[in-house]
Symmetry: none
Subunit: 291 residues, 2 copies
DNA sequence: GATGAAATGAAATAATCATTCCGCCGTAAA
DNA sequence: TTTACGGCGGAATGATTATTTCATTTCATC
């Protein structure tokens, strides 16, 4: 028995229409169909190029659910739904390579006038440029051998303790979250209750301390690194240059050149480095569960 | 009988490499293979999204010829060749999702020979490229008018309370730090002691709640947003799309198209947006101390 | 022309895909 | 508690895909 097309489902022709329809009907969809809807809006490129079966794996639903989703939204089948995403992908495209080459020659510190700073749009565009420039620079300046050795030290450690404060605190929290999500034991030394030294004392002899600090070199963070080094613990760090007080204390150091917009530091390059460390470590652990 | 790989066929990694190889070897290819080569270079988008059979029809060759072409150029099969065209279309990315899907389907199949994933240098370069393309994308997709309105709401608020958890917690901490450093009063709702509702209760009537959450939509964060909205507080949010449970609760929403590499979320675009919000707000406060 | 190696296309095969079908489960009304 | 029902996931089905096989054609060389 052919189900009559859903009365509330209008004919959808393009991606924006689909998006609008999903927003309008989101609470009329079942739990699983909502899950599919979220995945489709969050990963439109994947939808454009992958098969239904593969998307089902990625979205963590059975294939049948995606077929149901397509029909529910008024399409004949999955192919019609996918066509919407493919059209979106093949529409307006940017010549990425050329723009990246242009950006590579740009100065690291992006200068914009005072008037521009009060315009959020200009600020945003300036930050995007600054972030791109700093990424292209660090791509060539990061010591890749040191990166590999850095990951090795973390792999050897039983638990990774992360010390980061003030501006770097968010990144430290991010790293702890990331390490945990790949199955690496990790603790954040957050100095809660001013108990940082107690937290350092809780570090085991086969553990590793990862220190993240820049520029103002938060005294508490430096103190943590010093105390740990004095105890003979392995210390690695992510910081800005060799003059950093934690560099001399560390077995391995990754130097991250920071881009700035005015006085404001962009944490983008450091963030990318942290991501790389986490994912590389995760991969290493997956390949050699016990090392 | 396994044919030995063509000695003149170097390993091809990207589209430009393929293009160069085709130009270099064009007279060593047979008539039909040249026909395929021309079609592939003239219609790269078609190659990226169509099946082998359909491409065979478009290029007016039998399907077998395209399989031969792929092998002749040193690929394992058509799928590997097509991957080059898909990467070109989508921008650089790591094939994590693909591998995770394979792993789920065949858990015992271990592919250790793949050094792209266990090599930290390769992972790093992949992340840099992914970050750059996501930045170039968000530069055009972010709603600049909404950004300005967003900043205005924060400017109007007496105190900004920030709710963010799990993967977004680090960014929330970063935002609170940034807001404080420009002189904006800010509190982080960190759910310490499971006292999030007490923290929400402490929000003043002229304050603003800034919610940051993506994709898995941490239930505690959503609950905070719901409670605040119910109390009539002003809520703004940074999230991934309109289906996010906090979007409907928010007076202003900034949508950040997040670039995921496999299961790992790149927070770079969101980070840049947050920086822009903070700096814009700081500038506005400096120009109009009392608003 | 005759010959053999390379190239080609049709057809067979195996793998994968999208869709449908059916039984199970949880929920809500009876 | 029982019953009815919608949603769900697994398995079967049929369609399509990518690859291999093999017979034929083409073409350079003798």
């Amino acid at each position: 028995m052919a189900k009559p097309p859903n009365p509330t489902a209008a004919l959808i022709r393009d991606y924006e229409g689909l998006r609008a329809a999903l927003v309008a009907r989101q609470d009329q969809l079942s739990r699983r169909l909502q899950q599919v809807a979220r995945f489709f809006l969050n990963h439109p490129e994947e939808v454009a190029i992958n098969t239904l079966v593969r998307l089902a794996v990625l979205a963590q639903v059975p294939p049948a659910t995606i077929t149901r989703f397509a029909k529910e939204m008024g399409f004949v089948g999955f192919a019609d739904l996918q066509a919407v995403f493919r059209e979106r992908l093949l529409g307006p495209r940017l010549p990425y390579a050329q723009r990246m080459a242009d950006q590579a020659a740009a100065p690291l510190d992006i200068q914009i006038g005072d008037d521009d700073l009060s315009n959020p749009a200009k600020v945003f565009q300036g930050f995007v440029q600054a972030a791109v420039s700093s990424l292209l620079r660090i791509e060539h300046s990061l010591d890749l051998a040191e990166l590999a050795a850095f990951v090795q030290v973390l792999a050897d450690g039983e638990v990774v303790h992360v010390a980061a404060a003030r501006g770097a605190f968010g990144m430290g929290a991010y790293v702890v979250y990331g390490l945990s999500s790949i199955g690496k034991r990790a603790h954040l030394i957050d100095n809660l209750g001013a108990m940082r030294l107690a937290q350092v004392a809780a570090i085991g002899p086969r553990d590793v301390l990862l220190v993240i600090t820049f520029d103002d070199y938060t005294p508490e963070t430096v103190e943590i690194a010093q105390t740990a080094a004095q105890k003979g613990l392995r210390v690695v760090s992510i910081t800005d240059n060799a003059l950093s007080p934690v560099a001399a204390l560390s077995e391995r150091v990754l130097f991250v050149t920071e881009a700035r917009l005015g006085h404001f530091r962009s944490q983008v390059p450091a963030m990318v480095v942290c991501q790389s460390v986490i994912v590389s470590l995760g991969r290493r652990m997956a390949l050699a569960p016990d090392a």
